[in-house]
Amino acid sequence: MIEVKNLTKAYGDFVAVRDVSFKAESGSILGFLGPNGAGKTTTMRIITGYMPATAGTVLIDGLDIFTESLEARRKIGYLPENPPLYLDMRVEAYLRFVAKLRSVPRAKIQSALDHVLEVCGLKDMAHRICGQLSKGYRQRVGLAQALIHDPPVLVLDEPTIGLDPRQIHEIRGLIHELSGNRTVVLSTHILPEVSQICDKVVIIADGRVVLEEYLKQLPGGTSLEDIFLAAITKERHDVANAEEELEEVGAGRS
C-alpha cells in the first residue's frame, strides 16, 4: 500500500508538484496519468526515496520514506523512466549485482535470477551485454531489475514506452499477472493502457491531482479519453481563472 499525503516539490521557484495526495491499495494497479511535464516522474522519484519532497509525506506499507527510508526502500521495486542499466555489464551479472544491492539472501539469488529471466522473457539474453540490447529488451531488463527482490510495492515509470505492439501486450500482461497481492503504481500517457490493466486512475495536471477514481466507478458511456481531456482542461481553466483573479486583485491594489 502506498499513501501519498499532501506532496509538494519545488525546484527553486518552479513548483513541479503541488499538494498531491492519493492512495494505492495492495493487490491493485494504479494508473498515474498526466500530460508530459505534469509531475509524474517527480512524484515517482519522491515515492521511491530518490529525492525528498519539499512538503508532505509518503508511506510505503506504513513506513515513512523519509524517516524510515532504508526499511521503506527495501519494499520497493522501481523502474525509472530510463532503465538504469550499466551498459558494459552482462544482463546476468547486472541482475546479480542488483539482487545483492537489494539484499536478496545469497542462497536465493540464483532462483530469483532464473525467475525474473523467465517472467521477463530474457532467458536467451542472459549473457548479452546490456549496451547491445534493443530498447525493448533494455526495458525488460529494467523490469527484471525492479522485480528481482520480489517487492510488495512496484513503481513503474512508463514501463511500455519504446516497445513494439507485441512487447507492449506482453509487458501489460506481465504487469497484470504481477499485481497479485502487490501494490503497483505505473505512470503512462497511453490511455488504453490504463483502461486495460488498471483498477484505479489518478490524473495529474500541472502538478495537481485532478481526478482520483476507481475505473469501475467512472461514469459509463464516457471514454477515459473524454474524462482525461475534461479533467486537464478543467484544470487549465481553473488556473487561468485563478490567475485572472490574482491580476484583478493586483490591479485593484495599484
Binding site: Y78, P84, L85, F97, K100, L101, Q145
Partner: protein, 257 residues
C-alpha cells in the same frame, strides 16, 4: 559493509570491462620501466666513471636507493597526477549521466556505503598497479644490493599518495555529471596540492608553514627517503577522510536539490 563490498566488486570488475584500466596500467608501467631503465643506465655510467677515477669516497656515496628508486618514485608520483583523474572521473559522473544513479540511491543502502564501495574499488585498483611496479625494486634486489626497507617505505608512500589522489578524484566526480569536468578539476586539485608549498620554499611565517604542511610532496618525499613518520601517515589518512567525507556530503546533498 557488505553493501560496500558489493559495489566495490562491481566497480573493480567495471574498470576491466572498459579499456581504460588497461590503458592506465600500461602507461604507468611503461613509463615506470622507462624511468627505471634511464636512471639505472645513468647510475651505471657514473659507477664506471668514478671507479676509473678511483675515488672511494664518492663511490661510497653512490647507492641504488638514492640514485634509482627515489627519483623513479618521484616521477611516478607525477604520472599518477595525470592517471588518477582518468580512473576516478567516471565513478559518480557516469552514473548520473546514464541514470544508474537512480538505482543506487533508491536501493536500501546508505550513501556512505556507496562512497566507501567506490573508494575501495579505486584504491584497490591503484594498489594493484603499484604492486605491479614492484617488479623494479625486485630486479634491483636480484642483481644488486639496495636497502629493502627504504624501498618499501618509498612504495608505501606512493601507495598513500595514490589513495589520497583517488579520494580527491571521487569528490570531484561526485560534483558533476560531466566526466571531463570531473577529470580536469581533479587534475587541478592534485597539481595544486603538489605546488602549494612553493611560496614557502624560502621558509618564514606560520602561514607559509601551514602551506608546507598541506603540500603532498613534502610528506611523500619523507617516505621516499625511507622515513616512515606517523605525522606523514596522519596527514595522508586525514586527507583521505576529509575528501571522502566531502564526497558523502555531496552525494547526500544531491537528494536535497
Amino acid at each position: 559493509m557488505k553493501n560496500s563490498l558489493t559495489i566495490a566488486g562491481k566497480e573493480l570488475a567495471g574498470y576491466f570491462l572498459q579499456p581504460v584500466a588497461y590503458v592506465v596500467m600500461t602507461v604507468f608501467l611503461l613509463l615506470g620501466g622507462f624511468f627505471f631503465f634511464a636512471l639505472l643506465r645513468y647510475f651505471e655510467v657514473m659507477l664506471t666513471a668514478y671507479s676509473a677515477m678511483q675515488n672511494p669516497t664518492v663511490l661510497q656515496r653512490l647507492n641504488l636507493n638514492e640514485r634509482v628508486i627515489e627519483p623513479m618514485l618521484h616521477n611516478l608520483a607525477v604520472v599518477l597526477v595525470i592517471l588518477v583523474p582518468a580512473i576516478t572521473m567516471r565513478s559518480f559522473a557516469e552514473e548520473k549521466r546514464t541514470g544508474t544513479y537512480e538505482l543506487l540511491l533508491t536501493a536500501p543502502i546508505r550513501t556512505g556505503e556507496i562512497v566507501a564501495g567506490k573508494f575501495i574499488a579505486a584504491a584497490a585498483f591503484m594498489l594493484i598497479m603499484i604492486a605491479l611496479a614492484g617488479i623494479f625494486p625486485l630486479i634491483l634486489v636480484m642483481f644488486g644490493n639496495p636497502e629493502v626497507g627504504a624501498m618499501f617505505s618509498g612504495y608505501l608512500g606512493l601507495a598513500f599518495l595514490a589513495v589520497s589522489f583517488v579520494s580527491i578524484g571521487l569528490f570531484t566526480s561526485s560534483l558533476t555529471q560531466n566526466q571531463i569536468i570531473a577529470a580536469i578539476s581533479c587534475f587541478g586539485a592534485l597539481l595544486f596540492l603538489f605546488v602549494i608549498s612553493w611560496p614557502a620554499q624560502a621558509g618564514g611565517t606560520q602561514f607559509l608553514g601551514l602551506l608546507r604542511y598541506m603540500s603532498l610532496p613534502e610528506h611523500f618525499s619523507q617516505m621516499v627517503t625511507g622515513i616512515i613518520d606517523t605525522r606523514d601517515i596522519v596527514y595522508f589518512v586525514s586527507l583521505i577522510f576529509v575528501a571522502l567525507f566531502l564526497t558523502q556530503r555531496s552525494v547526500e546533498s544531491a537528494r536535497w536539490r
